[in-house]
């Protein structure tokens, strides 16, 4: 067939065969050696992966009122290479976004494919920017955490960052439950980098975050916050906190601190204002701590309520140190020692108990160790072992010095007296539930530990009632509701280690009604001025909150009075 073919044609044919052979070799080389990277380059040019953000779980109060929800807001970005007239565009955007023209121009002049102009702007701002119709300016929807009640319960809830990660409070502690799992959609994009609809080749749906139901009651929280705010401002305190607790279950019904912050705008707040003082700050409790010494003395039968102690007319020298009472007293029965908060009477009584037994009850009441509340940053407080105590320590500790506590520990301790002698674990999260409302984790109240007997608890309740009725806390008397409690006024320690005569921590810990306690309330004020007595500064806050709580619980003053009288 090729015999008659001219040699030139044959040469061309051979050349073509060689060229074809080389192409085949190249093809084999590409397929065998460089297929993967080339395939990846091709894929990246036409494939697109879109993140599908999950919805962050809602945080509810105990009545399923929303305390924290998420909404989608528009974030504005630019593709600088697409923006043609950068000067006029910057001018227009500056007017709408409230950012300086130079700043926007600088962003638009960057040699990058993507740059944020403003994140999570309001609907109104987004609409205005959209109406400018600038090429190269686009929008992305991003979830924004919002708190409809503003400052209410801000220290409990905490807040999230720009990318919806928990930063403080329960948002941080339960972030893994709340945030959910990001999903992805793999699609194809066209030459203009737009997603081609209908060509998704894989979709992994996001898993929305779980919701949380708290033990907080937003109405009670509101009562507590309003009254604390009034007291905080009236006495120019450096800080303050309040806890309202169910003494039987340990459920925290309200917890608030001052100063506070708005979690909707947390970044503009001072970090110190965001500290949850109720669990993160420890302080010397002063006379509030006498409940521990008194309970242990009665429980160990070291004293009887009617035993008399000579209170040295307000001044007593012991081991080279002079102790004082707020007011001078002569002979007082033990119940009156607590009623009038006599330091001298308490320290004399504590001598009958001894170091080891006092320490045993300090630990039994939960001091010196975390309560285990589900809030981040809880501290232990300090309750040192008797082996490290000085000669003065027994006296000092019995009256609330040389020991430090947190507000939540005090709430638990006073709850033990209110509920008949059992130490409860505080609970702030009731359950975690999925989107359908099905509980996936329940935080049951733990079995309380008995600290003192029911009889001792009742004796203590009677004594603490007398503190309010005719003792140091008469300003806590919520008429018709018969509250009980104990005041505390502690000198703060100066940096040089001496007790200050200008800085005090005032406290009132109590419950209402005294014979059938429904609520435990703890009020702490840090450095109140000019008055610093717990009975003057904190007791009125307790009274106002207690009155509102009882009304909110539909318990009328008269009913409480009737019940109280009938039980007597």
């Amino acid at each position: 067939m090729y015999k008659g073919t001219p040699s030139r044609i044959r040469k061309v044919l051979y050349a073509l065969i060689i060229a074809f052979g080389l192409l085949c070799v190249r093809l084999v080389f590409v397929q065998m050696g460089a297929a993967k990277p080339l395939s990846d380059i091709a894929s990246s040019q036409y494939r697109l992966s879109v993140s599908l953000l999950p919805k962050r779980g809602v945080i509810y109060d105990r009545n399923l009122k929303e305390l924290a929800i998420s909404i989608n807001l528009s974030s504005i970005f630019a593709e600088p290479f697409k923006v043609k007239d950068k000067g006029p565009a910057s001018e227009k955007l500056a007017g709408v976004l409230g950012i300086s023209r130079d700043e926007i121009y600088k962003k638009l002049s960057q040699e990058r494919g993507f740059v944020w102009l403003a994140r999570k702007v309001s609907q109104d701002t987004a609409r205005k920017v959209r109406s400018l119709d600038i090429k190269g300016i686009d929008f992305i929807k991003e979830p924004q955490r919002v708190y409809p009640n503003g400052v209410l319960a801000s220290h409990i809830l905490g807040f999230t960052d720009m990318d919806s990660n928990g930063i403080e409070g329960l948002e941080l502690r339960f972030d893994k439950y709340l945030k959910g799992v990001v999903g992805y959609r793999y699609a194809i994009r066209d030459a203009k980098q737009r997603e081609v609809p209908g060509y998704e080749y894989k979709e992994i749906l996001p898993i929305d975050g779980d919701s949380m139901v708290l033990t907080i009651d937003s109405m009670i929280q509101s009562f507590a916050e309003n009254e604390l705010e009034d007291g905080f401002k009236k006495y120019h305190a450096k800080g303050a906190c309040i806890i309202v607790m169910d003494p039987y279950t340990g459920d925290i019904l309200a917890l608030s601190n001052r100063p506070n912050f708005d979690p909707n705008n947390a970044n503009s707040s001072i970090p110190d204002f965001r500290r949850n003082r109720a669990v993160c700050d420890f302080f010397e409790p002063g006379s509030s701590f006498k409940i521990v010494a008194a309970s242990s003395l009665l429980e160990e039968k070291a004293v009887k309520p009617g035993d008399k102690f000579f209170c040295e007319n307000g001044e007593y020298k012991w081991c080279g140190h002079t102790y004082h009472d707020h007011k001078p007293h002569g002979w007082l029965e033990f119940r009156d020692v607590i009623k009038f908060s006599s330091n001298i009477g308490t320290m004399k009584a504590a001598q009958r108990l001894g170091k080891d037994r006092l320490y045993k009850y300090i630990k039994k009441f939960g001091f010196g160790s975390k309560t285990g509340i589900d809030l981040p940053g809880e501290v232990n407080g300090i309750a040192t072992h008797p082996s490290t105590w000085s000669k003065l320590s027994l006296c000092s500790i019995s009256m609330g010095q040389e020991v430090t506590v947190t507000a939540i520990q005090l709430a638990c301790a006073i709850s033990a007296l209110a509920n008949g002698g059992n130490l409860v674990k505080p609970r702030i999260v009731e359950r975690i539930q999925d989107r359908t409302g099905h509980a996936i984790q329940k935080f049951e109240s733990k079995k309380p530990q008995r600290v003192i007997s029911e009889e001792t608890a009742k004796e203590m309740r009677d004594i603490l009632r007398s503190v309010v009725d005719s003792g140091t806390a008469q300003l806590a008397e919520a008429k018709g509701y018969f509250p009980a409690g104990k005041t505390g006024t502690a000198q703060k320690v100066e940096p040089n280690g001496t007790y200050s005569h200008r800085k005090f921590t005032a406290s009132f810990i109590g419950f209402v009604p005294y014979d059938d306690p429904k609520f435990v309330i703890v009020v702490i004020m840090d450095e109140p001025r000019p008055i610093y007595y717990g009975g003057v500064v904190c007791a009125p806050v307790f009274k106002k909150v207690a009155t509102q709580l009882m009304s909110y619980s539909k318990i009328l003053p008269k009913e409480a009075e009737k019940r109280s009288l009938s039980k007597r």
Binding site: I69, N72, P148, N149, P197, G198, L556
Partner: protein, 113 residues
């Protein structure tokens, strides 16, 4: 056997027409998929927009009825609320027959009138 090459024409034509038809149908199908995808995307965008709008309105309602917001408004209007006195409280029992005001049965009072 007819060896005239012209006799192959109908077969080739049929094949060409078939292939062309299948190709056109395929392109049409792809175009329809694209159109439907576009429509679904548009509907999804509208739905997402409405859901977002709804959520923002829900947030506004929650914000308006929050105790903090209500308290602030009452304070601004200088409206002071106080707890009712004992004589101002009417307790209504579960049964409509028993309406008690400070220990007196209102139903009895109504009957005597």
């Amino acid at each position: 056997m007819n060896k005239n090459p012209n006799n192959h024409c109908p077969k080739i034509l049929t094949a060409i027409v078939t292939v062309t038809f299948v190709a056109v149908m395929y392109v049409n199908q792809q175009a329809l998929i694209y159109q439907m995808g576009l429509k679904v995307k548009q509907n999804n965008d509208v739905y997402a927009k409405l859901v977002d709008h709804n959520k923002i309105m829900v947030y506004n309602v929650l914000n308006l009825r929050s105790p903090v917001s209500l308290g602030r408004k009452l304070l601004a209007k200088e409206v002071e609320l106080s707890m009712p006195s004992k004589w101002q409280v009417v307790k209504i029992d579960h049964s409509p027959e028993k309406i008690v005001l400070q220990g007196k049965n209102l139903a009895n009072i109504a009957r005597t009138r």
